[in-house]
């Protein structure tokens, strides 16, 4: 309806300003993408210009000589496995907490709320020690467990608010038909929570993919870890190889951007849902 309006001079000026701002915001990303196709000399001599010719040698170098391929696979495994278990575990607990009023809920709901406030750095030292004691430190399982535990607090609150809006009558009639609460939840309630699950998967998935400190500390030593951790260890090894560095960052960025392009709506919903819950 706005588009049908005739543009005034002011509208053109405003559009122009926004376009300039958008270019400025996008420039750093454009720079990193272009740099992935340049030689190191080109980046140093002509940081802004287009590459003279599209140059894939950085990618061959990345593929053959660095730990990035292994680390990318690790990141994929870590993200998908953690997300799978988060969705397996968190909605169920929210269902119990939201639908069972009484002592149980009134004890755990505030506890999850408090859990959201604690910064990771505030409890990581005892956590690492704990993992060592039970023999999980330095395994691939450790980050998965930490991600599920961390997602429990925020995720439970998010799911609770969505479950609240599901009418109880459906569950009651399912119960009368002899369906167990466990079955009712997965067959009837969970499918109704799709928008919540989509937002949750996106928020957690991007967060896990982009995480750095925790996987660096707890994943198996002397092996490639996650993509972000390996990009970090680049800097020591390839101090001046910006071409290889930007190739690595491109690999880290592309999956997230692709998911964003296809699931934009859920990103926006996720932000809103997350913000209101906090």
């Amino acid at each position: 309806m706005h588009n049908s309006k005739k543009w005034k001079t002011g509208d053109y000026i405003l559009f122009f300003i926004v376009a300039i701002l958008a270019l400025a915001f996008f420039f750093p990303m454009l720079f990193s993408i272009l740099s992935a196709f340049k030689t190191n000399g080109e980046i140093l001599k002509n940081p802004i210009g287009l590459p003279k010719r599209i140059n894939f040698s950085n990618f061959f170098y990345l593929w053959n000589k660095t730990s990035i391929p292994r680390a990318t696979v690790n990141s994929f495994i870590l993200t998908t496995v953690s997300c799978f278990f988060i969705i397996l575990v968190v909605p169920m607990s929210s269902y119990v907490i939201e639908r069972r009023s009484g002592k149980f809920s009134s004890f755990f709901y505030p506890l999850f709320l408090a859990g959201m406030m604690i910064p990771f750095q505030a409890y990581m030292i005892p956590l690492f020690r704990e993992l060592r004691v039970i023999g999980l430190f330095g395994t691939m399982l450790a980050p998965v467990i930490i991600y599920i535990s961390g997602a429990s607090s925020f995720g439970t609150l998010l799911y609770c608010s969505f479950i609240r809006s599901v009418p109880k009558e459906i569950e009651e009639s399912a119960a009368i038909d002899g369906s167990s609460p466990f079955k009712t939840f997965w067959k009837i309630v969970f499918p109704l929570l799709k928008p919540c699950t989509a937002s949750m998967l996106i928020l957690q998935g991007v967060g896990i993919w982009n995480d750095f400190l925790m996987p660096m500390m707890v994943m198996p030593a002397n092996q490639p870890k996650t993509i972000n951790v390996e990009i970090f260890s680049f800097i020591g090894e390839f101090q001046v190889r910006y071409d290889v560095l930007f190739c690595g960052t491109l690999v880290a960025i592309v999956p997230v951007i692709i998911i964003f392009i296809f699931l934009q709506k859920y990103f926006i919903n996720g932000i809103m849902a997350g913000a209101v819950k906090s």
Binding site: H2, N3, W7, L14, F15, V18, L21, A22, F25, F26, P28, M29, F31, S32, S35, L44, P47, I48, V89, M92, V96, R100, F104, L111, M117, I118, P119, Q121, A122, Y123, M124, I125, P126, L127, E130, I145, I146, I148, S149, G150, S152, S153, A175, P181, F182, F185, V206, W209, N210, F212, L213, M217, F246, A252, I253, F260, F267, I271, A275, S278
Partner: protein, 294 residues
């Protein structure tokens, strides 16, 4: 019937909540509680025994100039970041609200930096702020201005990090402001137009009060996220030059894992936790008062 309903709901078995509650208790609550004890020890991270030393870590903190420096940096970073991010985010939201074409595309572009990891963000900007070939100095040199050491000058480095964080974070808060703007009933604004209310008056008397909820959310989130900044500092400055950009999160990391003072590091971590609590409480109180006044 009502009795029967509650009966059905009650039958939801508690065990369905156990996996999540168990993990949350074991790997969040338990270490969080243990950190109180850890902070009262001189544990080095390796030895099997923890030496209990009472409040000595906290006494040492009071006289530790490096701690107070990180404390100041953290608060400065968080407050400056929250203010700037919200100014940029609100401006972008207000402009986008008026733009007639390609709104979704622009919104996505402003939001895009949010999707990058802290490490990737950090290294992109390390290159852009490089002393010799970074775009900032290339442009300055074209204008016949001397190069600036964006990340190596102790007076500038923290600002450079704040700048990068604003670039990365503003789009997120912008989306919350856009939602706030969309929720303002259009008939109020139209009525004001008919009454001949000036745009400035309209902004301060209608838009700002109606956005109070978005302000609260965004200020709280940006302040708390500001206290937690870590990855960018690792990638961009490693806390340097000197200790100019060392924040509490970075100090916890170096003290605990490079210097092997994990008891001491935990004490700093608890201070960080307290700071997070205080910030969100004070801030919510202040905003409440503001909301009432409006």
């Amino acid at each position: 019937m009502t009795l029967k309903k509650t009966g059905l709901i009650k039958r939801i078995p508690v065990w369905m909540a156990f996996p999540s509650i168990l993990m949350f208790s074991l790997f969040v609550i338990m270490p969080a509680v243990m950190s109180i004890y850890f902070s009262l020890t001189s544990w080095d991270g390796l030895s099997p025994h923890m030496q209990f030393i009472g409040l000595r870590n906290y006494m040492d903190l009071i006289h530790d100039e490096r701690f107070w420096n990180a404390f100041r940096n953290t608060i400065f970073l968080a407050v400056a970041l929250a203010i700037l991010e919200n100014i940029v985010a609100l401006t972008l939201a207000l402009i986008l609200d008026k733009v007639l074409k390609a709104r979704t595309l622009f919104r996505s572009i402003f939001y895009l930096p949010n999707l990058l990891s802290g490490i990737v963000t950090g290294y992109i900007w390390v290159a852009l702020m490089n002393y010799s070939f970074g775009i900032f100095n290339v442009v300055l040199n074209h204008l016949k201005i001397a190069s600036i050491n964006w990340l190596g000058n102790p007076g500038i480095a923290l600002w450079s990090i704040i700048f990068v964080m604003v670039w990365k974070g503003a789009g997120y808060y912008m989306i919350i402001y856009i939602a706030g703007l969309n929720s303002i009933p259009s008939d109020i604004l139209e009525a004001a137009d008919i009454d001949g209310v000036s745009p400035i008056r309209k902004f301060f008397s209608i838009t700002v009060p109606m956005l109070a909820g978005s302000f609260t959310i965004n200020l709280t989130l940006s302040l708390i996220n500001g206290l937690k900044v870590f990855d960018q500092i690792v990638a961009m400055t490693s806390g340097g030059p000197g200790f100019a950009t060392e924040t509490l999160t970075y100090q916890i990391y170096t003290v605990a894992f490079s210097e092997g003072k994990q008891g001491y590091g935990t004490a700093i971590a608890l201070i960080l936790f307290l700071l997070t609590m205080v910030f969100s409480l004070v801030e919510t109180k202040l905003i409440r008062r503001f909301e009432v006044e409006v």
